[in-house]
């Protein structure tokens, strides 16, 4: 790598994604980005961890080539990592897709191995989201939480602790503030 970055920090795609030149995105053909998503430096996305276990119904088959699916207006802070979750099933180890909807913020140095993250989810810094966790819409996970594997977090939950548990509810007035369009617009390409 050269010492100086002559171009901007971010590569901008046709759909408005801003992907840091210093991020590590592996297996790009298996990753879907919905658009207007920001990927900061040192973020790791493991698109190479593809499902190897054959899907039972044919409609799922084409989905097999997707390891990580990300919606619109997501924000992945410096040094966070997205890994599709994996498990042994009938004696065979396989990864399964990691799906992330819209307006999802992931704080610095957090590790995500969820099966599903809904829309308007705010994940703090240094959080671990365990394998196959399911996080519904409008959830806030506070800094340093460890969400145990298989945990289901219902909508409007505030979650914290190791292991994480629901510690509060998202107030009615907090809902609007979880939209990330403003955050996206504020990202310059310096």
């Amino acid at each position: 790598m050269s010492k100086k970055q002559p171009k901007g920090e971010y590569i901008e795609t046709d759909t408005g994604n801003k992907v840091s030149r210093r991020s590590q995105i592996i297996g790009t053909t298996n990753i879907i980005l919905g658009g207007k998503t920001v990927i900061q430096a040192e973020v790791i996305i493991r698109g190479d961890l593809l499902r190897t276990y054959p899907a039972s119904n044919p409609s799922e088959k084409q989905g097999n080539t997707v390891a990580v699916a990300i919606g619109r207006y997501c924000f992945f802070s410096r040094g966070c990592e997205l890994r599709p979750p994996g498990k042994l099933y009938k004696g065979q180890f396989s990864h399964y897709p990691l799906k992330i909807a819209d307006h999802v913020f992931v704080g610095p140095s957090s590790i995500i191995e969820a099966a599903l993250i809904g829309s308007h989810v705010n994940i703090g810094s240094n959080v671990v989201v365990g394998k196959f966790a399911i996080i519904k819409d409008y959830v806030r996970i506070l800094d340093g939480s460890v969400v145990p594997p298989n945990m289901v977090i219902p909508s409007f939950s505030v979650v914290a602790g190791r292991p994480a548990r629901v510690v509060g509810e998202i107030a009615e007035g907090e809902v609007d503030g979880m939209d990330l369009r403003e955050v996206y617009r504020a990202v310059g390409n310096g």
Partner: protein
């Protein structure tokens, strides 16, 4: 030193601030102030203040009362019960009959509260998923993927992978079956028929109940409760016939007669009188396990022995015991914890009963039918230091050193508002901060969309009442000095003003003339929270809104200007600006 994020809290008017409060350590309650409401300064550090201050996002606005509403002055109404793990809705009738826990297969680890998943003992040990269990053969166990606890450790295994709640209800720790309430009831009826009238001693010896219940049996808590309940019900029925008192014996504790009888249980000891149960009006106590009595001298001994051999490690923590419904001194007593149900609730104004928030009833929907949040009615306040803090500089405020902050008011209404700010010159408390708002009165533009604004600019400039508008560029170019009486910066629906504060010195040993009145009265150490500079600000918002109120905040503004009325809203806010360096 942890960094400090400035904050703004709003006071809900529902709190009664007229009652004098007492600080910890005060010897006498403070004298009631003679001042009228308007003159009294709100003290953010008063013990009562904690309960009335909220971030704006947590507040509602009642359109009928034209008032802020907080979580303490709204009524919650349950719309839907659901399990937070399987997300199935539970009808409220089921909640009444079955209780407030998920009765499917949703359990939390008794050791660490992480979710438990069902897995087959025959499956590869690393198997995580619960959904795959259906194709596998039992026995099944509950596993924690966080701390690796397994129900096998307490001797609990299941035949089927689903309906774990019902299966668990029939197994004791260790694997022995639990007699169901039905079995017990049958046994009780048999006994009553066979031995009614015989004395206690005979009864327990001759007892040959169909399922052979042992009168010295160690009962699980549920069975003990149901035995006790059944016992007292028969006692009450026998000692006071239904006809005489007019209650049915089930839960008929309401009548005065029943009440005095229950009191009689404690005052008129019936231990001595063996035949007492035959006398009318007196009751005896339970005397064996079948009636719910548990005298277990062995259990203490067992516990001591267990502590001796297995040590402290084998005991359950207070937190773990708190999650359990029964007495569980040892880890081996702990049971998987069925998930408590959660609710979706609507909120009503306590004063006028109008609905302030109503979610869609379906569990998986996140939409609201009604959502009257204060955010859409009153200006938000954002705090920023006027001079940007260098990353190398201390984030703490230097004592006795003036510092300026920028307060940005953003108007959510479709009408422009006039804002008036009032602060005490010195904040209340032992270490007062000096406060000056450079521009205490200003107008904030309406929250119209950008096109509306462009049109209005051409026609009338009345909404801004002739004040000179300063653009962002002007502000950053020219004026570096904040000027009294002038707005610092303004935009479409926002205005920034400057507030200057002089933080106090927290040194107790400062010379006498520097000390505040409070300090002279009440010396001593710096208490927790006193290093935070908190400024009480009284905000008065005035505007002309549409009559009817129904949609003054959300409906299209500016369409119909004929029927308008003056509106006013006033409330206390607390600005948390920073922490003072304690040196």
């Amino acid at each position: 030193m942890a960094s400090f994020t400035p904050y703004t809290y709003f006071q809900c008017p529902c709190t009664d601030t007229s009652t004098p409060t007492r600080n910890l350590g005060d010897e006498q309650p403070p004298e009631t102030e003679e001042n009228s409401d308007d003159e009294r300064t709100f003290d953010p550090r008063a013990p009562r203040s904690n309960y009335s201050l909220y971030p704006l996002e947590h507040l509602f606005y009642c359109e009928d009362c034209h008032q802020i509403r907080c979580p303490r002055c709204v009524l919650d109404e349950i719309v839907t019960w659901y399990c937070p793990n399987c997300l199935f809705e539970v009808p409220s009738s089921t909640v009444k009959s079955e209780g407030n826990r998920c009765t499917r297969s949703c359990f939390q680890c008794p050791i660490c509260v992480a979710p438990l998943s069902v897995s087959s003992l025959e499956a590869p040990p690393e198997g995580l998923g619960a959904e795959l269990a259906s194709q596998q053969n039992g026995p099944f166990v509950l596993n924690c993927a966080y701390c690796m606890w397994s129900s096998k450790e307490t001797g609990i295994q299941f035949e089927k992978p689903n309906g774990i709640f019902a299966q668990l209800a029939k197994i004791k720790n260790g694997g022995e079956p639990i007699l169901t309430a039905k079995d017990r009831r049958k046994d009780r009826e048999e006994r009553k028929r066979d031995f009614s009238g015989s004395s206690a001693a005979e009864e327990s010896q001759e007892n040959e109940a169909p399922i052979n219940l042992d009168p010295n049996e160690r009962l699980d808590p549920e069975s003990q409760f149901s035995n006790l309940k059944a016992f007292y019900q028969t006692q009450m029925a026998e000692s006071s016939p239904v006809s005489a008192l007019g209650f049915t014996g089930d839960y008929g504790y309401g009548s005065p007669g029943a009440l005095s009888r229950i009191m009689g249980l404690y005052t008129g000891g019936s231990y001595a009188d063996k035949k007492s149960k035959t006398k009318s009006g007196t009751m005896r106590e339970a005397r064996d396990a079948l009636e719910g009595l548990q005298i277990d001298p062995l259990s203490d001994e067992d516990a001591i022995n267990k502590l001796r051999t297995e040590g402290w490690e084998s005991t359950a923590s207070a937190e773990q015991r708190h999650e359990q419904t029964t007495h569980t001194p040892f880890l081996s007593d702990l049971r998987p914890v069925a998930y408590l149900l959660r609710t979706k609730r609507s909120k009503r104004c306590k004063t006028c009963r109008h609905i302030l928030s109503k979610p869609e009833s379906k569990v998986q929907t996140t939409r609201f039918r009604i959502r009257l949040v204060a955010l859409n009615y009153i200006p938000s306040i954002i705090i920023k230091p006027l001079q940007p803090i260098l990353p190398t500089a201390s984030p703490l405020l230097a004592p006795l050193n003036p510092v300026q902050f920028l307060l940005t008011f953003k108007n959510p209404l479709f009408d422009s508002v006039k804002v008036t700010l009032a602060t005490p010159a010195k904040t209340p408390g032992r270490f007062p901060t000096k406060v000056t708002v450079l521009c205490p009165q200003f107008e904030v533009g309406a929250n119209t969309d950008v096109w509306d604004e462009a049109l209005r600019d051409n026609n009338t400039k009345s909404s801004l009442s002739g004040e000179k508008r300063r653009t962002k560029a002007e502000a950053s170019e020219g004026q570096h000095q904040a000027e009294a009486g002038k707005v610092w910066e303004r935009g479409r629906n926002w205005v920034s003003v400057v507030v200057e504060v002089v933080p106090p010195s927290l040194r107790i040993e400062d010379s006498e003339w520097l000390k505040s009145e409070e300090m002279k009265r009440d010396g001593g150490e710096v208490r927790d929270g006193e290093e935070v500079v908190e400024i009480p600000v009284f905000v008065r918002v005035e505007w002309e809104g549409e009559v009817g109120g129904e949609d003054s905040g959300l409906g299209g503004g500016g369409k119909d200007k004929e029927v308008r009325e003056k509106r006013e809203l006033a409330y206390w806010c607390v600005l948390g600006l920073g922490k003072v360096d304690v040196d």
